[in-house]
Amino acid sequence: MSTLEIRNLHVTVDTPEGTKEILKGVDLTINSGETHAIMGPNGSGKSTLAYSIAGHPKYTITEGSVTLDGEDVLAMSVDERAKAGLFLAMQYPVEVPGVSVSNFLRTAKTAIDGEAPKLRTWVKDVKGAMENLRMDPAFGERGVNEGFSGGEKKRHEILQMELLQPKISILDETDSGLDVDALRIVSEGVNRAKDNTGLGIMLITHYTRILRYIKPDFVHVFVAGRVAEQGGPELAERLEAEGYDRYVANA
């Protein structure tokens, strides 16, 4: 049982026009086995929240705390956060030319576990996970995200999540830009990881469509850098009908 606890989180970025506050006091608690949908309009700060938790150097935490099972996440380096059990599936995964997917996956797994995986089971695990996500085995020899289509990049993110087995996973618009077939495959992967490991999930999304495939326990409406409203799955249905206009007007 793990808990990610975000308290009164304030975050700024440096822009050419000066320092800009993007997160303005975020409170959120995610336990193992729970799925929290974070829904909000473009530019409301969803990716900023995800990156700040993962430790991206562009974002400065000015106030508040993030803990994982009581440990201070903000004091950890980026790789320490991953080793502590956090995972971020990125909205725009980065290309790392010349580094093969298989080398990357093995290096990451070794780093997270603190020891190299047993070769035979590892090869089998990777093969199985790739099959489940309908990824061609040839992906293993390609450069990380190099020349991948949008859908391939997202499946590759979920592949990593299934293999690295984090405690809490943040999915930043993993559904955006996917056709229905790809969306189904990716959602199956997320549900599988949850069933297998009891993962806690922060599901950041702009659209309600993915919620037909991944059932949220809680829905948080994110507007202008903070949670504007929260509730159960019924809140998502209301958003689907009404959109974000009501919140944006009030913000």
């Binding site: 380096s77 790392v96 990451a108 780093a111 690295l164």
Partner: protein, 399 residues
């Protein structure tokens, strides 16, 4: 950090056919007479990026006493290594030297060593020549002569230290094939100015790889000239400049005859406040060279502040009847987004940096085609990166 990228200026000039910033590369002087080249001041076109003060000993027209120690792999049948007196060596050199250091290297070399591969000889195993500097001033002249339809791989490794200038002449007869690998793994205080001049007969194939990791100053210029149709050159280069290192590679591919192909691919990484690399890639497509196909590329990866990469591609085209001609030059900062991505998967900073830099060089290393060299290089690049990690740790305030 200072990154000087002349790509745009020269690209514009080169693409408006016939207009070239300076005078044509075809007009550059070549001569065995050292006095044809005044002592460089650093203002000359071909010395303007070079640390002429460090290179000064190589401009002195005086006899020298030093030598490099030679160790050669066992030579198979059809391959000979012989000493050639200065005058004969000149005769057998494919082109006269292109600068003062090179001309003086020939003059004071005391004669050349000639590695000859007889016609129709196909050598499977690489021929290795290990040259070790034991200090002092050394002048060298080397002839590599590959007979008609012969094929070989030659790996020349330089280690130790010296103040060394040299001319390497490469003569490929019709339909000959040579894979020539030059490894500069000098100690930290070595100073090396070298010139490689190659001539390719009809249908000949030259694959040349230059790897420069060691030395204080390495300035290694490669020229390849086509003398017969249907020939091809592939020139690869890999360099890694640390603090205090100057690594310069000038290339000149002379398309004088029709239907030849050239590819130039150089990649470098730079780390440390005073690391400096220079790449100048000249390609000349003469009026007669119809059906030419050429492409040259230089990419630099700047790992830390203060390093400087100069990159100057230059394409001169005197005929419109070509297959293709292009060039690209890019110098970029080490990508923080790549680092973040890898580290967000639990990979440590050091390891992530290794992955990115290995990835940057990976395709190039696989082109070398000599497995022992490829494996050794990956290890050496890792070692270079360990210095980088140490340097970064000394910078206060760095995460």
């Amino acid at each position: 950090m200072t990154v000087t990228d002349h790509t745009q200026a020269t690209a514009d000039a080169a693409h408006s056919h016939g207009i070239v910033p300076d005078k044509s590369r075809a007009d550059r002087i070549v001569s065995f007479d050292a006095d044809a080249f005044p002592v460089p001041t650093g203002r000359e076109e071909n010395w303007r990026f070079s640390p002429v003060r460090d290179l000064k000993p190589l401009f002195a027209d005086e006899p020298v006493a030093g030598h490099l120690e030679w160790a050669t792999s066992e030579l198979p049948a059809g391959v000979t290594l012989t000493e050639v007196p200065v005058d004969d060596a000149r005769e057998r050199t494919v082109r006269a030297p292109g600068d003062r250091a090179s001309a003086l290297a020939v003059k004071h070399s005391g004669g050349a060593m000639a590695l000859a591969i007889a016609a129709n000889t196909v050598v499977d195993e690489p021929i290795t020549i290990d040259l070790t500097g034991v200090g002092g001033d050394v002048r060298g002249h080397l002839l590599i002569e590959v007979g008609q339809s012969a094929e070989a791989t030659v790996v020349i490794t330089r280690t130790g230290t010296a103040r060394y200038s040299e001319l390497v002449s490469v003569n490929l007869a019709d339909n000959a094939g040579l894979n020539l690998v030059l490894l500069q793994q000098w100690d930290a205080d070595a100073v090396h100015a070298g010139e490689v001049v190659a001539k390719l007969g009809r249908d000949a194939r030259l694959r040349g790889t230059v790897v420069t990791l060691g030395g204080k100053v390495v300035r290694l210029n490669t020229s390849a000239a086509f003398a017969g149709e249907g020939a091809s050159v592939d020139l690869f280069g890999l360099y890694f400049a640390d603090s205090g290192q100057h690594q310069e590679h000038q290339l000149f591919v002379d398309h004088a005859v029709p239907k030849c192909t050239s590819r130039v691919t150089y990649k470098g990484a730079l780390a440390g406040a005073t690391a400096h690399s220079v790449w100048i890639g000249d390609v000349l497509i003469r009026a007669a060279a119809e059906g030419t196909d050429t492409y040259e590329l230089n990419r630099n990866l700047v790992l830390t502040d203060g390093a400087r990469a100069d990159s100057v591609p230059n394409l001169e085209i005197e005929t419109g009847e070509i297959e293709g001609a292009g060039h690209a030059s890019a110098t970029g900062r080490f990508d923080e987004e790549q680092m973040f991505y890898l580290r967000s998967r639990g990979i440590s900073e050091d390891q992530a940096r290794k992955l990115v830099v290995r990835g940057f060089f990976a395709d190039l290393i696989h082109e070398i085609g000599v497995p022992a060299v490829e494996e050794g290089l990956m290890r050496q690049i890792d070692l270079e990166l360990e210095h980088v990690a140490d340097d970064l740790q000394e910078e206060p305030g760095d995460e």
